[in-house]
């Protein structure tokens, strides 16, 4: 029992960070209808920023979100303007836009690989190797703080969507793009803004993954596969779904890792993806595709 609770703790504390990673992906999908395969590649850009901020200026990786989030927000706006703005309104082109995000992921990976080479890196703030002990259990401090920060950001995002005028407009665009346009939402500007927010969330995730995982430019493929399975489980476009999916799969992966060894842990996500697509393709909280 003790053993199981310990695994649960480890799973949940990593799940919060996965939820943050997935939130940007699902938000962008919800508003624009595009699966952004470059999401994790953008996390890598932020990871490198956080890494060098730590190495050169000893900036704490969690605090580095004050740099990575605004930087990635601006990157998101620019990328949206240059690549997506003209095509996103055209539903026929959305399928092709997924290929564009794939190309974007490859480009980012290649550029990062060229600049920084594909060696393993990570930051090691003091808390990264410590643990909080309570009774028979331990809580890795790094995971704990990262999850706390992730949850804080997710609550902030939720409140923003729920209570602000722009939040209303974003949710309206998610529900029904035409209806939003008809009541006077500038859906192009909303899409651009959401792409920026999604990238800023990728930025925060990138900052925090630097001390949770060792990373290198092509690591993003691993993440994007995991994120897709979480988001599909929760229901594409649903924030709450992404949170539930992240916690659920992270806990399951922790148990699989404990039972069968860490090499099997990533397989959990891919298997889950298969099962979800077969059994409930719209995910836990997703909407059934309408006619």
């Amino acid at each position: 029992m003790t053993h199981n609770i310990q695994i649960l703790i480890l799973g949940v504390t990593l799940g919060g960070v996965y939820a943050l990673m997935a939130s940007g992906l699902t938000l962008i999908f919800g508003v624009m209808g595009i699966v952004n395969l470059a999401h994790a590649a953008f996390m890598m850009i932020a990871a490198f920023i956080a890494y060098f901020a730590f190495q050169l200026f000893h900036l704490d990786p969690i605090l580095s979100i004050v740099i990575t989030m605004p930087v990635m927000f601006v990157v998101g706006i620019v990328v949206y303007r240059l690549l997506f703005a003209r095509s996103v309104a055209d539903t026929h082109k959305r399928g092709v836009l997924v290929l564009l995000t794939f190309a974007l992921a490859l480009t980012v990976e290649g550029t990062l690989g060229f600049l920084f080479s594909n060696i393993y890196r990570s930051t090691n703030p003091s808390y990264a190797s410590k643990a909080i002990l309570f009774g028979p259990y331990y809580l890795p401090e790094g995971q704990f703080y990262a999850t706390l920060m992730s949850i804080a950001l997710l609550v902030g995002l939720w409140a923003f969507l729920q209570y602000t005028r722009t939040g209303y407009a974003i949710r309206a665009t998610m529900h029904n793009r035409t209806a939003a346009e008809v009541v006077g939402v500038n859906v192009d500007r909303i899409s651009m803004f959401v792409f920026g927010i999604g990238m800023a969330l990728a930025g925060a995730s990138g900052s925090m993954l630097t001390f949770l995982f060792s990373f290198y430019p092509s690591k993003h493929w691993e993440f994007v596969a995991i994120l897709l399975s979480l988001v599909v489980l929760g229901g594409m476009g649903s924030l709450l779904g992404a949170l539930i999916g992240a916690l659920l799969l992270s806990v399951i992966a922790a148990f699989v890792s404990a039972e069968f060894g860490p090499t099997w842990s990533p397989v959990t996500f891919y298997l889950a993806l298969f099962v979800i697509l077969l059994v409930r393709p719209q995910g836990l909280l997703g909407k059934r595709p309408e006619l």
Binding site: Y168, V182, V183
Partner: protein, 246 residues
Amino acid sequence: MPLLQINDVVAGYGIGPDIITGLSLAVEADRSYCIIGPNGAGKSTLLKTVCGLVQARSGSVVFDGKPLSGLRTDEILRRGICYVPQDRSLFPDMTVRENLRMGGYILRDRHAVEKRIDEVMEMFPILKERRAQLAKTMSGGQQQMLLLGRALVLKPRIIMLDEPSLGLAPMVSHQIFESMNVLKKAGITIIVVEQNARIGLNFADWGCVLDLGKMVFEGPSQTVLDDPRIEELYLGRRRRRTGAGG
């Protein structure tokens, strides 16, 4: 001077062919209009062009003496033209009240919007009754009523409705048109596209018949209803074998 003047407009989607091929219409403020015509005649495209969802390729749309060309939907909405699409375009996971609130999205003054929502609810008691309900849980007729209410929040000069009776039972359709009469009495100019030509023309003062992107015929509703060509083509009566045929 007409409230809305559509001058020789040509419009279509993306790189596709012209759907509207040179159409003119003068909309007077104190009339209501019903647009009928076969599928593909360009009825919906006409409304979308006026409200800025589709950009005219040539020609002009002038509202209240000012051209609307190049304006976005939200800018046209601000001028006072509101469009209600045919696909029950509500926000399904928002409540009735939140949907109405979205109707006033372009207004910055929240208190004014809330006050206006209360007024709209007085006009449509069913919306007041269901204010806390999610839009997706309402019946088709109630959803259409909510769309009307949402359009009303802004007090527009013109409301354009695209097939409000689509998919509704005949009795419910009649209720919707009765509600539209309320709007008419409130001094709003209504332009409605309607498959059910009879109910649409009975409601409106003026009928417009479109085919292949052009205005074929327009006139007072009763005249349009009585015109033999219209009867044959659009009202589904048995065709007589005289004349030039279809």
